[in-house]
């Protein structure tokens, strides 16, 4: 009788303990071990697109043509024209970080689309500082960064393909796009590996 209770208990414990042991492990972000999905923008795609845009922008010299370097950047709308819900900061933040580290541009967090501030507290601090020091004018943005992410699907037999186009524009205060960049990433897979 005692055994009848103990044995199931031991078995249940074994199953429970085995269930806890997973093969979870760390991989390098952006490395070759990262998961690749055809129907989804993976982290390595964002990194690749951001790095390509940053390198192209730095090489163009567009940011060097401001009176008072470093250039001040305001972030405009990044349109998501893919079939998935994405956070565009996965792309934009990487570009901002890289440009700041390069010393060529800084981004304003107190001036945004429709007058909204990315950091409302910073905007309050800025206004308070201006009021206390009786300042009339602050430095305005030299450029706005806008863009679009587009997904294009294709299928032939069991093979499915998705192309993600990352398009970015840097517009100056005259309303002219002084730099434009586009990075396309195409992924292919067979039926079993896709999500759409």
């Amino acid at each position: 009788m005692k055994n009848k209770i103990i044995i199931p208990l031991v078995a249940a414990s074994a199953v429970f303990l085995t269930g806890c042991a997973t093969d979870a492990h760390y991989v390098a972000t952006g490395g070759t071990q990262n998961i690749v999905n055809v129907g989804q923008i993976n982290i390595q795609d964002y990194i690749q697109a951001a790095n390509a845009a940053t390198a192209d922008l730095l090489a163009s010299g567009a940011l060097d043509r401001v009176k008072n370097p470093p250039a001040v950047l305001a972030i405009s709308r990044i349109v998501n024209n893919t079939g998935q819900q994405i956070d565009t900061d996965l792309l934009v933040k990487k570009i901002r970080v890289a440009l700041l580290q390069s010393g060529k541009a800084v981004t304003t967090t107190t001036f945004g689309l429709g007058g909204s501030a990315e950091d409302p507290l910073a905007k309050g601090m800025q206004q308070e500082s201006q009021f206390m020091n009786d300042q009339k004018a602050t430095r305005t943005a030299d450029f706005s960064l806008s863009g679009k992410i587009i997904q294009l699907n294709a299928r032939a037999g069991n093979t499915t393909q998705a192309t993600y186009s990352f398009q970015l524009s840097l517009t100056d205060t005259q309303g002219l796009a002084v730099w434009e960049g586009e990075k396309e990433i195409t992924k292919q897979g067979t039926q079993g590996t896709i999500g759409f």
Binding site: G31, D56, D64, K94, G103
Partner: protein
């Protein structure tokens, strides 16, 4: 008869398996001069090196003062090759500098194709570089 069919089938398979090689044309009198740099190579994957080899490396500076590197690769095989690559950057003290996140870049090169890959240093302080080539899937 059976032998003939088998032979034809084998030839068809062989032809289908071969990828078209690459033809190219370019101007013979070059206007631009490439600033070729001597390179030090460490080859741990001889298989990849046999398939896709480095022909030459040249560098230039961007208008903004960033180091730009261009590497010429050659596919020595008669089939398309997939590879991944990744640039690392170092300052004048030999310390690695990194911009934001980095990712290996997947690429492919056609049979017998000569191809350039390039990168721009993330910081002006980057003076040296290293290219890592990894065989793709």
């Amino acid at each position: 008869m059976k032998t003939k069919i088998a032979a034809l089938f084998a030839v068809a398979l062989a032809v289908a398996g071969c990828h078209d090689t690459m033809n190219s044309v370019e101007n013979a009198q070059k206007e631009g001069q490439r600033n070729m740099v001597s390179d030090a190579r460490v080859v741990s994957d001889t298989g990849l090196n046999r398939k896709v080899g480095v022909v030459g490396v040249n560098t230039a500076m961007t208008p903004g003062g960033f180091l730009r590197v261009q590497v010429e690769l050659l596919n020595r095989t008669h089939s398309l090759q997939n590879f991944n690559y990744h640039f690392e950057w170092f300052d004048q003290n030999g310390m690695q500098v990194s911009g934001s996140s980095t990712a290996v870049i997947p690429d492919e090169i056609d049979a017998k194709e000569d191809k350039f890959i390039s990168a721009v240093a993330p910081l002006q302080s980057a003076k040296d570089f290293r290219l890592k080539l990894i065989l793709g899937q």
